[in-house]
Symmetry: C2
């Protein structure tokens, strides 16, 4: 049985050229770049809540870091360093090798160095803290939306929720939708290129982790605005439409931008090969209030805004 | 039942004047001070491994942050910001109120602002990431010890292990030792004032979390040195002596300093009201090798260096 320290050396320690000191001391040491602010976020994934005990280790390793990259993308910050605290039920080297393969695949894809962590025994749980940089004053917060700004979403939110429903037998998806939805579950693709390109263009941004409407309402509440959305749905949404509006775990970006920059946003989507859809606009009104309509102007009823861990 | 967001607002959100953006967005934003390096560390506490399900919530809240402050103390870094990821089995507000009371008592005692976090459902687990500052190049790493340096320890390591043994009925402690040992368990006192004062004086430092000998061996391994320790113990240590040598969870500091600064170290201990004991010195030899002797020069046998989560 390898020791805790041998496990760390074997699976977690990789070169960290952009840190003065990485894994292996009481703390890591970094020097942020001049003129930059540090953006820092933490997310925890717990067995039974965020993943099943039998979840594929490699996909889980990817996702553990990807959800944190997504938080920085939503701030317009470039991720640079991460720390990983993990509780593991046993020193299962086959599992760890696959988990870290997924984790470091994501780290390499998005330019992140693992500079520290903690390894302990317990029910599987992973807490990543990610640090990134953004030029001073250019971060995309939730509070910057203004009345008249348009509301945009990237990609096709709801795929993860649809994929999960398919696995649970609640819907039967056909190809090619099935493959797209199932791929969205273990390997979410953080919209980092989009988030970085939105600096100076978007007025506010958030990533869709709890559900499109729930996360949009965070922007509206923080900005003190209401919104009117016009959607291609019936007055009572179908299951797929419900997933689009309220499904979590997709990590697309919702953002606001001035209406006179509509064409710039569309051009950005083309450049990135990523559909960007205008859903409506921000309006003066009760903070967080969502008025959702069909194309015909009928109000859309929805029962829940999204996911709440303690609801 | 309050929502996840109501819980965060009620219990975790406090003013964070030294962050540009604290809790409530996708990431926090901070600007490290000019000329400083950032020291970052993470530690995870898990139910069943680090604390019992019935553990006092307030003490646990204190300890969750204190063990991280201790890591920065061991680097000579001043703690400034923290993030807290927590898994909770339910939204128990009485428990949360006590936990956060302990957490913020520690935060105020050591000048830390909580700038971010994550709250999710699961078996109780807490992962804190702490960020602090240290003037560039002055951090106390594990790798700086030199042959001839003296080895020092603060306070009385072993108290937490003795207190635990007392609670488990393995030993029967008398007053005043009993109170001191029982207090060491839920409310460890990070040696921050000592760590900051050791900048420019100590050549290497580490905090005693796994056990005195185990943690000292990390310094020796990282510095490529052996050590000779002379202790006031019999050839076969008693239980209390075993706790001193191998007991974890005390968060005293072990550090090395040049022998010609012996009097300065003693004077620092007097100034801080904290006993600093010279245990021996670093020597050329196999990296990490510990030669432990009694005052009479007899070798001391010890069965284990300290705690290993997967041994």
């Amino acid at each position: 049985m390898p020791s805790e320290f041998a496990l760390i050396t074997r699976y977690f320690q990789r070169p960290t050229p952009s840190a003065r000191l990485g894994i292996g001391d009481d703390a890591a040491l970094i020097t942020p770049s001049a003129g930059m602010e540090l953006a820092i976020s933490t997310d925890m994934l717990v067995v039974g809540t965020h993943f099943l005990p039998a979840a594929d280790a490699e996909g889980l390793g990817w996702k553990t870091l990807a959800v944190n990259v997504s938080d920085l993308a939503a701030m317009g910050a470039r991720p640079r360093w991460a720390l990983l605290a993990c509780a593991l039920p046993e020193a299962d080297e086959t599992w760890l090798a696959r988990f870290t393969q997924g984790f470091f695949a994501c780290a390499e894809a998005f330019g992140v160095e693992l500079i520290g962590g903690d390894t302990t025994r317990g029910a599987r749980a992973f807490a990543v803290t990610i640090l990134g940089e953004v030029p001073c004053g250019q971060a995309l917060t939730r509070a910057g939306a203004r009345a008249g700004d348009e509301i945009w979403v990237s990609g096709a939110p709801g795929q993860a929720a649809l994929g999960l429903a398919h696995l649970q037998g609640k819907v039967a998806l056909e190809e090619p939708q099935r493959s797209a939805c199932l791929a969205a579950l273990p390997r979410p693709q953080p919209r980092l290129a989009l988030g970085l390109a939105l600096r100076g263009l978007a007025t506010a941004a958030i990533d869709v982790s709890d559900g499109l409407l729930a996360d949009l309402s965070h922007i509206l509440s923080a900005s003190g605005l209401a919104a009117r959305l016009t959607l291609d749905v019936e007055a009572v949404p179908t299951f797929a439409q419900h997933c689009f509006l309220a499904g979590g775990d997709d990590y697309e970006l919702v953002f606001t931008a001035p209406s006179n920059r509509h064409e710039e946003v569309l051009a950005l989507g083309e450049k990135l090969g990523l559909p960007l859809t205008c859903l409506g606009d921000c309006r003066p009104g009760p903070a967080g209030f969502l008025d959702v309509r069909t194309r015909a102007g009928e109000p859309v009823a929805f029962s829940t805004l999204g996911y709440d861990h303690f609801a």
